[in-house]
Symmetry: C2
Subunit: 253 residues, 2 copies
DNA sequence: GAGTGGTCTAGACCACCGC
DNA sequence: CGGTGGTCTAGACCACTCT
């Protein structure tokens, strides 16, 4: 055997590519800059386009790149921190609520939500659609499930649907006395309708935050929010509003 | 043109495939069951293997499937809920700590961690490696960064490294009075070493939980934990230990 | 050794964007 | 209309696991 084994543990090409590109991004590119197109990049590295794309996909997953069909691949800005589970998000419709109501309907929720709400399967509940913006960009789409028993005094509302009715439902929900909430975070892929609102393609990776809102000893509402995984870092501030900004003289009073 | 357009809005094949497979998983398969191999499945649906794999990848991302090289594709069990940011995880080395110390070293942390710890760039800190198990399976790997100033009385410890030293460092860390902590969650891909510990391939999707532990008005330690995104659902219990178990007679005293 | 999923190639065409 | 990323094909070989 005159040939020599170049790598005893050969790492995949796309993995090596990803490393090389990642270092190039750090040193030779700045945020917003446009990369060469995929065909050129593939040729430059001597690999098939599919292999290059595998590397780009991972870098996009990690929030390093942003790719848009018909436009090109750009260097992504650092992920934005989005507060979840604090006052900002504490109770739907509250004064510091970061969500914008979009629509409202009355329909049967998914089985898993019905279980959490302790409603009968197929029993219709209020479904409020909301979106959340940060820095002018949509970062999350939400479905808020509110059983009719949580907002009993809704008879006087004339708006049958739309944002006006959504606001009315949230206002009624405010009358309950909050007893807390809990969250769960998991990875998912964007449904077609969420993808549209988030300005992404269907199937894009998203962080799904499920929140149960508690009042009067039971679950008063359930929220299923899908956040763009490429651009968002979800923050859970359990220790007050601690800022990371460099401000060495800052001190609690 | 005698041909007829089958779909005026043609959704991608892999997307349709994913839907069909997802429904089949619900109705015709049970947890742990082995699916036909990729070549057979692709032939059965009349698509290339790469296209089928695109659908399988998404289903794996959503936690519906589990694929293992050399073995096959199986139906995944529901994601396990993993408590983060509660007493279970509150302070490293505490009585209800879910983590197992593995190793300990003294080295310079990444720049971002150094900033959070307010240490000089390049200044070595204790780096404790830990793993977290649930139901006998590894679900997370962690690097805990502890500045030397947080554990000043470590001179009497003889173990220079290894799990014994890790436990000693954690014990010293316990002497500080905790003032809280905050978390951030984002999507990432597994580094080679983490992937090995998590029994996954490098690049597998992971949920990265960054935790700052506060004591004496400063950041006493920083934890960077990578959770398997396919099998884990991270839970943040902000409302006490509310159980989901059906127990209608349960009531707070 | 047989069978599985993982990687890689060299093409092709499509959907979308901006000019 | 030209250029971009997104989808898809039909192969090939490799790394791994199990028997």
């Amino acid at each position: 055997m005159g040939t020599q084994q170049l790598e005893s543990v050969p790492e995949p090409k796309y993995w090596h590519l990803k490393t090389v590109l990642s270092e190039a991004l750090d040193s030779e590119f700045s945020v917003g800059e446009i990369l060469p197109n995929e065909r050129d990049l593939a040729a430059r590295f001597g690999v098939a386009r599919a292999t290059l794309r595998q590397a780009l996909e991972q870098l996009e997953l990690e929030g390093r790149l942003q790719r848009r069909r018909g436009v090109g691949t750009t260097v992504a800005p650092p992920r934005v921190g989005v507060a979840v589970g604090t006052e900002q998000h504490a109770w739907p419709g509250g004064p510091e609520d970061a969500w914008q109501p979009v629509d409202c309907a009355l329909d049967a929720p998914p089985a898993s939500v019905a279980t959490a709400l302790e409603t009968a399967p197929g029993e219709p509940v209020h479904i409020v659609r909301r979106t959340r913006m940060t820095h002018g960009q949509p970062v999350a789409a939400e479905l808020l499930y509110i059983p009719q028993s949580s907002v009993p005094d809704l008879s006087g509302i004339d708006a049958p649907s739309g944002a006006a009715r959504a606001r009315a439902v949230l206002r009624e929900l405010q009358r309950l006395s909050p007893e807390g909430h809990d969250n769960a975070v998991e990875l998912g892929s964007a449904r077609a309708d969420d993808a549209k609102e988030l300005d992404r393609l269907p199937g894009a990776p998203v962080l799904i935050v499920t929140t149960r809102f508690l009042a009067q000893g039971r679950t008063a509402a359930v929220s299923v929010a899908t956040y763009r995984a490429d651009t968002c870092r979800l923050t859970f501030g359990d220790s007050g509003n601690v800022e990371i900004h460099q401000d060495p003289q800052r001190r609690a009073s």
